[in-house]
Each structure stands twice: as C-alpha cells, then as structure tokens.
Symmetry: C2
C-alpha cells in the first residue's frame, strides 16, 4: 500500500476500539433483528458461483428429491430479519461479468474489466477488501471448491492484471497473510510446477503456516497457526465425481467440512471475515451439466447450513449469500401434457454418476454411436436412443453445426441432447447478464435490501467494519451499437455480422 | 356461491366498517412505512406474464438503451418500505405452472392442475378472490394486453375446467359483475363469433356497462357506469407491431393508458382491487422473440409507473408486482473477448420493427434463402448471412432437426438464429420452473417478504381486506421418477425415452 493511499484509510473509533478487544456480547437473534444500527463482528460472504435463477430453483427441486428437504437458502429467506435483494453484477466493460470483475467489485467497490483483479484500465491498483480488513485487525479466510487462487477468492485479496496469473496470486496470499486458505490449486504453490520454481509451500511453512493436502490433516490441524490447505492439484473434484471415487471422498474435504474448520479457526477471533465459494456450480453450468450443477448446489447448501448454525450461535455475524452472475441460465422446461412430464424427467438427474467433464475426453475420441450410448449410460444413467447418439457424434466431430454459433461445442450439444431426458434447457455455455439474488441476515443486513450495485457490497462491508475508504473508479466503457435515435429512424443497414 | 360455502365467508368488523364508508385518510408514504399493521384500501396486483429473470434484466437493459432510464421495477425495489421476495409458482400437477394454475393460486389460495381455473381435480369449484372481494364491497378491475378472458385475468374471477372456455369466462365476468374490464378478446363477446350465438356485448350493455372498442371511447367513457373495453378481436397487438402500424397506435390503448383509466374509475371507491397484466411478455418469450419481449416489458413498466404514481398519491394502496412463471429463460450471453460484444449485439434489438409472430406465416411459405433474408431484414433490421438463412429454411421445412426435440419449431430455431445477432439465448419455448421475483410496497407489503408460496398471495390479500375464508386444497400430485434410493443404488435401466 503506497503512502498516499494509506492516508485515505481511516478507521472509526469503534473499529479501533474493537480491534483492541471489543467485548463479545452474546445476544439473541431477536436482538440482532431489532437493532438496525448494530454492527457485525463477523462477516461471512457466501458465493454460489454462476448460479442463475434456474440453477437455484433446480438446486431446490433436486434437494427435495435427493434428501427430502429443500435448500437452506430459502429457509434463510424466511427467517426473521432476513433481507433479500437483486444485484446488478455488471463489470466495467460489459453487462456480462466474469468472476474476476465480479469479485473485484465486492473486493474494491470499483468495477474493472473482465478478467482483471482489482486494477483499473490505467494500471492503478485498487486497495482490496482483505488488506483494509487486515489493517483493521480482522482475521481473514478464503474457502473454495476451485483452485484457491481462482478469480472469486482472489478478488478479495489480490491485484493482478490477469486472473490467469495464479502463481502471482498465490504469492500475494502469502505476502498479505490471509490466515485461512482452503481449496484446490496445489500446483500453483509447488516448486516443480511453478514457472519461477520457487517452493511456495515451503515459504508458507516458513511463515508459520500449517500446510496440508488431505482432509484428515485439516481435521487435526492446530488452531495456533494459519492454514494453507490445498487438496487437489487443480480444482477440487465435482461432488458427483467424488462420490464415484471412494478415494477422493476420503482425501478431499467437502465445502461444508472446510467451512466448518475455517469457522473453528476464525471463530476464536473477535473479528473475522470469510469468503466461502461453491465455485464449481459455475463450471457445471458452463458444461450444461445439470446433474453436476445441482450436486454442487447441495454441497454449497451444506456449507451454508454450517454458516447458519454459526450465525445462530454467534448472532453478531453478518451472513450474505449470493452469486456473482448467471451461467447458461438453465431452465426446467414445461414438457408433456399439462407440463406433467417435467419433474419426472428432472428426477432422472438422480441417476447421474459422473460429470460431463469426466467423460469429455472419452466422448471426443469415440467413433460409434454405440460407444456414445455406453458412455452416456454409465455417466448419466439414461438410455439415449441410437438416432440421437448419431447426431451427437456428428456434432462432436464438427459435421453438424447448430444455428447459434456459440452453441457449437461438445458441451452445448451434449446439454441439448440430455435436455430430452432431464428436461433442462440452456441459453448457451457462458455467463449471462441476469441480475442475481442476494439474501442477508444479521447485524447490518438491512443495508442489503432492494436493488444493489455489486460495488455497494464493498461499501457496506467497510461501513459495517467502521472503515472509511474509497477506491478510485473508472467510467463504464461504452459498448453500445446504434443510439436509440439512429436505430429508430435510421434507414441504413450494414452487414455487421456476416 | 353455495349456501354452505357462504357460511365460511366472514368479514371482520373492520372490513364491514370500511364497506360502509371507511374515511379516506390521506397519509404520507413515510406513515405507510412506519405502520406495519396498517391495512390497504386499494390493492393493485401487477403481472408481467412469463417474465424470467433474464427477461426482467434485459427489459432494464433495453429501457436504458431506448429511453436512457431503467425500469421502474428496480426504482420500486429501492423505495423505503418496499419488500422483495421470491415465489414458488408451482401448480398442483407440475413444478412448471401455466398461467391458469398460477393465477388460480393467487385467486383461490389453492393449487390446481395446469390449464384449469379455480377448480380442484374432483370438480369442486374454488371460491375466487373477486367474489370474496365483491361480497366485501370492494370494486374490482381487470386490465390486460391479452384477451380479457385469458388465464391470468380469469384466475381472479372465474371457475372453469378449461382455460380455453373463453366464452364461458366472458359470461362469468358479466354474472360476477367485474366493474372494469379492459383488454382484448372482443370475439368472445360477439353474437356471430360465439358458439352459443348470444350477444354478450348487448347483455353487458343491458346490465349497465359502457361497452367500447376504441382507445378514444375509453378516454371519454363516463365514470358512472361499469366498463367493458375490448380493443381487438383477439390479443392486443404487440407494442412492436403497434408502432409499425399507425392505425393500431390510435385505436388500441397502451397498457399504461388502460391502467390510468381503470384507476380513475376505481380510485373513486373507498376500496378496490385491480389486476394489471402485461400478458404478451410471455407470448414473445414463447416465440424466442427478445425484441417483442422487451418492448412489452417497457409497456408493462409504463403501466407500473402509473400505479406507482397512484400509490404515491394514495398511500393506502398496496402495490404487488410479480410474474406468474418464467418463459424460455432468455439470457444475454457473454460473447466476444472479455464478453465485450454482448451489449453491442443486444443493442441491435433497437432496430427491430416487427414481432416474429407477424412474420411467421411469411417465413413458412417462402422457398429461398434470399426471401428469408429479406423478411428478417425488414422485421429485425439485421442482415442475416446466406448460409444461416439456408439453415433456417431447412429447419422451418423440417429437413433439419435440433438435438433437443422441444426446440424443433420455427420459433425456437429463429430464436437460435437471431441469437447470433442480438446475443440472447433461450432454454426452450415453454414455461420454466424458475422461482420468480416479487416486489411489494404500501400497507401490508411486509407480508410479502422472503420466500413465498403462490397461494400465500391469496391468503395475504384476504387477511389485508379483513376477509376470513379458506378454500379446500388437493394434495400435490406425484410426478417423480425413481425415488432417491432406487436411483442411488438401483442397477436397472429402462429405455424410458427412446
């Protein structure tokens, strides 16, 4: 942090007092509801990455089928004092954000270009949320099912011109001393995998971190040291694939287990902020893989349950649950007479055993419809007719192109094929501009009502922590085509898209 | 209403008192916010039919492009005292509702089978909202851009085993004396068009109604008589098509104009309830026609603006704005480097001049790609390349089938084609299971927070009007496929979908 920026950082008397040992006043949830001006001592920010409204709805439908109980997300909305909102997550250069710009908007209060972490187009770094909270003596944690260096966790901590610079982000986590780091992405810390050959695992250990790679190590890790737990070389496996592989089920902790341990570590502090990301909801939606997506939604919901229990025990906790953008906008389509087939079809998702990702390479290398059918039966539990398998093979081999060019991918076409059998359609394979839902509970929740800009989240967190700071902003980039006037009354048409 | 059901209808002392002439106390919006137990004298229920989250978002994006101001829907969410919720709109037989079951859930507090209006599967009629409010001496109005007998308005008034029985519904409107009826569907009232040859227009006149067919007649109609205004034989034209035809622009009132007049009529009463439906948002979404959909969203928003102004003037008004279900879940897809192309593409929607519906017949009868291109250029303002026009022609002629059978329609394929040029993808062409947003303001709004069942809306309206009544319900119909247990551990696969 440069000296002149430091001068902008002012903590209120309250925040300073609290850093010096704000007394732990235990009050009931009712008290928290009735005190609109109460301030939280703890903030938990939960993100189901890439959760379109359809993904949320189908997560709930799946939860009812799978465990006979809907998502806690909706229980939370029902609780006294819970506040709901819609949020505009747009980035600096597009109404469709990516996760880096989305998390940066929460992490700096400033919109950045997609793919960038807390940096304006002119190269000026934005002072990130976790640095501000560090200086206010709040403990900080990141928990995710993706690589720990991925865009959503990184947006609370790092400055980087590219979200792809995972090795640099890993180093910034060390330099900026995030106390609890649990997720995937071990390769970005390993000497033999890093381009600069530096042994970041050792450097973390030298800095006092407990470093571990197994779920069991996490469970027994000492609370006296900060934690770096990286449980996979890349992203953690999909929950669906984990259940198909008993070894993964043992070695890789669930999001709920990581969240529980993170709260045990952080919960000893007077003040902490924790981000919990269900990161692979987004990946499954990119792949048009509803079976994988709803399993990730359930894993996220179990982590949410851990947080709700914590908030109930420690009501000075502000809980904010949201997503960073829609992805592929799945929808369970009305099918059959009186739409009576839709849920019957959707319940076939219960038969799925493997993610699309896990069968992608196989699918691309097969040559016969029979092989396609075999692979799909094993992965999805669905018997796909010969005729459809042939069409999919043609699509995968590039012999058959859809009308919407964007859908010309194996994932998109597999999604279209499976839509016949699970009833779920998709708008594409990338993020969407959809406004997203948010629910908040606890002291300060009232700030999160109505309709928010993504950047409001940062301002709210700072205000609730008594931190006065404002990052610089850049003007939204113009992306418009014709002006309304030109389009309304113009008579020239140019072949823009030929 | 049968005698024994009548005994269930009890009005509270307050409702009776108000029916006898509750004084018009004008209080400020602030007062309304601060009195959580206040009761409304007026209820306005606005429905943007078939508005998925993507439709709402893109309505806002379009409004910014078209008129440099976003939707009032979001301004409303921001207002002090506004309450937001998500709503589960499922019907009795499906998680995907149709408009009849959706409106019946609001109109009776009971879930019915899709396609049915306020009737249980055993044939038992449910006592509808507007009959209950009639007996409580509230004036009642219906305003819509669809046929006035369509499912959404009918759900507040009628009992019918099929939503298709429009002629019967028209008669029930007369028998049940809805004072303000403004929309389309004239043919269901005309002697030469009705199967029973009865002249319902005359019967309405004989019953004291002012009956009119032109916007100008509506503007000058006397407030001393009830109104039946039917401005088109079927649905009112799409706003987009109306702008393309100056005659329609003069003869057919906008939704906002109808709403304004309805409020002038009803606003003289101590108590009224009004449903305002932007019904063709849904139709456009069924057709994967984003240009038509966002124009309907704007027309709806202008009607909402009229209602917000009314609520500001008469704060004892409860305003509830929602939708009955998602349709086709459009999403503006992230396209181009850093998703920077998305809004540029979407802004091409400004060039559109005609709805897909208006060109459907032409498209089906053409034989050359050149003709396809000509029709699309005139309607959408987009130059579609030859290669794509050929593919569309093959799709329309049934020579080319998509992988998802449900998408095998001219509308779906035209939507997929146009997605290349406007950036908007679709999940299908029918309703979706998505939970839907709701925003409420005014006395009683606090009842609409968090997560609601569609049937709660009926119970809330009754409670707020001091009416005690409960309709019978039927158990949700089972639609599940395999149980969780069977699917998890079963090893039998049957070719269910071949």
């Amino acid at each position: 942090m440069s000296g002149n920026r430091r001068t902008f950082l002012k903590q209120s008397g309250l925040a300073v007092a609290s850093a010096l040992g704000f007394p732990s006043v235990v009050c009931s949830a009712k008290d928290a509801v009735q005190e609109p001006d109460a301030l939280p001592r703890h903030i938990i920010h939960l993100v189901a990455d890439g959760m379109s409204m359809g993904t949320l709805t189908l997560g709930d439908a799946f939860a009812r089928l799978y465990r006979q109980r809907g998502l806690r997300f909706f229980d939370l909305q029902q609780m006294p004092g819970a506040v709901t909102a819609l949020v505009n997550m747009r980035s600096l250069n597009s109404v469709v954000t990516d996760s880096a710009a989305a998390s940066s908007s929460w992490g700096s209060g400033s919109r950045v270009v997609n793919g960038v972490l807390n940096q304006l187009p002119d190269g000026v770094d934005l002072y990130p949320l976790y640095q501000l909270f560090k200086e206010a003596s709040w403990k900080r944690g990141l928990v995710t099912t993706t690589e720990i260096t991925h865009a959503t966790p990184a947006g609370f901590v790092a400055n980087c011109s590219s979200r792809g610079s995972a090795e640099e982000i890993a180093r910034q986590y060390l330099d900026r001393h995030v106390q609890v780091l649990l997720g995937g992405g071990r390769k970005f810390f390993e000497a033999d995998k890093r381009k600069d050959k530096s042994d970041l695992l050792k450097e973390f250990r030298d800095a006092g971190y407990a470093v571990f790679h197994q779920a069991s190590e996490m469970e027994s890790a000492s609370l006296d040291r900060p934690w770096l737990g990286v449980f996979a070389s890349g992203h953690l496996p999909y929950t669906l694939d984990q259940y198909a592989d008993p070894k993964l089920l043992t070695s890789v902790p669930t999001l709920a287990a990581m969240t529980k341990r993170a709260l045990e570590w952080l919960g000893r502090s007077d003040h902490f902020i924790l981000q919990v990301e269900g990161g692979r909801v987004d990946h499954a939606a990119h792949n048009c893989d509803i079976a994988a997506a709803v399993r990730e939604m359930l894993a996220f919901d179990e982590a949410l349950e851990v947080c709700i229990e914590f908030q109930r025990r420690v009501p000075e906790t502000l809980l904010v649950v949201t997503t960073d953008h829609g992805t592929s906008n799945p929808g369970l389509v009305g099918l059959g007479k009186s739409y009576a087939d839709s849920l019957k079809l959707f319940s076939q998702v219960l038969r799925a055993r493997r993610s699309f990702e896990s069968i992608a390479d196989n699918l691309k290398s097969v040559n016969s419809a029979a092989d396609v059918r075999k692979i799909l039966l094993e992965a999805t539990g669905c018997e796909v007719p010969e005729t459809k398998a042939v069409l999919l093979l043609e699509s995968v081999n590039g012999k058959r192109k859809p009308l919407f060019d964007h859908m010309n991918s194996a994932a998109a076409q597999l999604g279209q094929l499976m839509a016949n059998y699970v009833g779920v359609g998709w708008t594409g394979t990338s993020h969407t501009a959809d406004y997203v839902p948010l629910v908040a509970i606890g002291p300060g929740a009232v700030r999160f009502r109505g309709f928010l800009q993504n950047t409001d989240v940062f301002q709210n967190y700072l205000a609730l922590a008594g931190i006065e700071y404002r990052n610089p902003t850049a003007p939204l980039m113009s992306e418009c085509g014709p002006s309304a006037e030109e389009a309304e009354f113009g008579d020239k048409h140019t072949e823009m898209f030929a």
